[in-house]
Symmetry: C2
Subunit: 212 residues, 2 copies
């Protein structure tokens, strides 16, 4: 089974690597990073380079598509190679999935019209604009439509565990979880704007402004 993870300039690394690390544990799955062209892409602030091993047209019929998010999605929503590839591959996939603002790409490809969907908390309005119905949940699945959609960044790990269960079985998903020792103990309860105070949100906005 081929799992194709999209990669593009200014993507968020963990959006892709969370699902990657879960799914690559399962020998039945072959993973490939696909992009506009082979070669390196730089993630959000340029500190990290990831390799694209295949161009979109070299991966025309993956079993699973994973679309990560990041600042880089902004320039991709008016159409172009990624949106075209997501639209073209969708009918043949077992699951088309997204993490973070990757769901905006799915929406731009016309896959989320009128459907409940999630994204990074900072992109909820944009998701609605693109025709989906934003819901605050960590993972949303539409099994009839073969879509699994995760919220911001780290939620891709939770999404991928469920995806492993759907693709293989519950034992495979649990084995992957054991292997990556995913028994989270966040030192703070600060994983969403609804959980933090104004001082933290001021810092969040300060950090976002630097990176925009």
């Amino acid at each position: 089974m081929q799992v194709a993870i999209a990669a593009f300039p200014r993507m968020t690394a963990l959006d892709a690597i969370g699902p990657y690390e879960v799914l690559q544990r399962i020998p039945a799955l072959d993973l490939v990073f696909v992009g506009e062209r082979r070669g390196e892409v730089r993630t959000e602030n340029g500190f990290l380079g990831l390799t694209v091993d295949a161009a979109y047209d070299e991966v025309p019929s993956p079993d699973v598509v994973v679309v990560p998010g990041g600042i880089g999605t902004r320039s991709l929503l008016d159409g172009g190679p990624l949106v075209d590839w997501v639209r073209a591959t969708y009918p043949g996939t077992r699951f088309t999935t997204s993490v973070c603002t990757g769901s905006l790409v799915l929406a731009a490809a016309g896959l989320l019209n009128g459907l409940a969907a999630t994204t990074h908390w900072g992109a909820v309005d944009k998701l609605a604009e693109l025709g989906a119905k934003p819901v605050h949940r960590r993972v949303i699945e539409h099994l009839d439509q073969r879509l699994v959609i995760a919220a911001g960044v780290s939620s891709g790990i939770d999404m991928a565990l469920r995806l492993a269960e759907l693709l293989v079985d519950t034992t495979a998903a649990k084995a992957a979880q054991t292997l990556i020792e995913y028994d989270p103990e966040p030192p703070f309860d600060a994983g969403h704007p609804s959980k933090v105070d104004a001082a933290v949100m001021a810092r969040v906005e300060e950090y976002r402004a630097v990176r925009a």
Copy 2:
């Protein structure tokens, strides 16, 4: 402040990218991936290439060192460029840190002699052999020794949030957590061998054998 993340062939991607994603959110921190030589390294099963942007000798005095783990650590423990660099940079770092079997590298560099430490659950015996005292905890810190050590793979996210607090302040750590929406909801409670049944452990061993 410079944060140097080691990269080497057959490393585990999430060991590095978990801390990367937390720390790169904080504008005060500059991150760099360092390795034996500039250029691409392939993570465990070869599905993913990451770029090394600086050789170890180009980063002689980082403020923070992060050593990820992975199958690739096995060939590094008898000494060589990574162990030498960890040993040489340690006196000047604010914190030397590890994720997963990265702690074996710290131990091989002589930093963990007689100290409580953690690692991936599958490498506990090896950690003891190298002179540390294995303890089953997700994150262990020795502030007097400026060491912060995480357990397997995904625990690097928890470790990095604590590190952000130590390096900047609690608000910075919480802001990073909000930004990466780290509000985990694992679909299963299977994050450690102590939490799963024999059927899952049989699958774990099957998957490990394929990758070894």
